[in-house]
Symmetry: C2
Amino acid sequence: MSPPPPATPFSESPSPPPSAEAADPPETQPTSARRRPGGRTARVREQVLDAVSALLVEGGYDALTVDAVAARAGVHRTTVYRRWKDVGGLLADVLDAAGGDGWRPADTGDLTGDLTALNQEILAGLSARPPITEALIAASFRSDEAARALRRFWDDRYERCGAVVERAVRRGELPADTDARRLLVAATAPLYHELVLLRTPPDPELPAQAARSAALAAAAGAFGGTRG
Amino acid sequence: MSPPPPATPFSESPSPPPSAEAADPPETQPTSARRRPGGRTARVREQVLDAVSALLVEGGYDALTVDAVAARAGVHRTTVYRRWKDVGGLLADVLDAAGGDGWRPADTGDLTGDLTALNQEILAGLSARPPITEALIAASFRSDEAARALRRFWDDRYERCGAVVERAVRRGELPADTDARRLLVAATAPLYHELVLLRTPPDPELPAQAARSAALAAAAGAFGGTRG
């Protein structure tokens, strides 16, 4: 069983779940697409987005053209142009599809456990082979549309992770006015910094270590509360 | 007076200081370059690296070619090919030159102050215009040689910041076995994550906030010590 998409785009399965199409917010759905969830439109989208992911990990952003995607997906190029317009639109839809899942953060019973589980998913995503997450992050430096979609994806993931902080507040582990986003960024940022920017080999201890230090800081009121 | 290069490549001044050439370790200095610090070789290097930075911020990685750099720098293209070989070599030398300075972290008298000062330099570097730091990070996703040079640069910066942790240990603010690198990454990673990957507008409170939370976690033993 593959893990659910973590707070990185995804770990192994680039295909959106069947519900992703129906879950799309209207503004990310080109008006020309006929919406028949589970039907031909959904199949074409899955084929096209799989082709984008495959080409991206194989040849990077430079290998991505609408024509190459259409050929790889086995669909007509005018279908791709009409629905996704260009490479930026394709990349954004890969990210929107990845975000259109039912992912929820693990509930382990305590804050450090929840943050460790989240960080383990991030580590798995960032060190997965093929490196789709890494390739999407790299592509976000080439396409503004992909950058905006990546930001939407992460904002949504951090939003869902707010549940981790709410549970910890309810258990009395954290001050009630803890800034969830700041705590979550503090807990997860060392993973992204080490693996994406510093390009350090994955350290299996880092997820728990970064989770523990953020939880200690949070309990001490670093993200709100009397000492914040 | 411009600030010293922060833990990001640099904030405003892309020119290496006069000492940078002499300070180069042997392996980053192409063997064909005749080393006459302060002389013609140093001047040519400065002109060429300034041209690389200018072209990079103006047109991104795609605007960088050896010929364009030579034309912009007003030096013969064979000089550039001979000494830097290719775009990767040019980018790596920009980063090596930026690292060849006398930068040291500020000494404010306490750990939170030192980490805040460091984070303020990082925020300034990442939000500087022209966005040379941002452009170099983006280029590191295009060139393995630039990626390695960026990693060298940051590793060296974190190494120099070890002084911040040593001082805090001597003052009794931290356990003696504090892992300096982990603490420093925890303190600085939220800046990089928010500004480079999440692309959040610069938040002037973030430097102090991230510094305070890392210092609280460190004092609680999160990076070593009895509770680590």
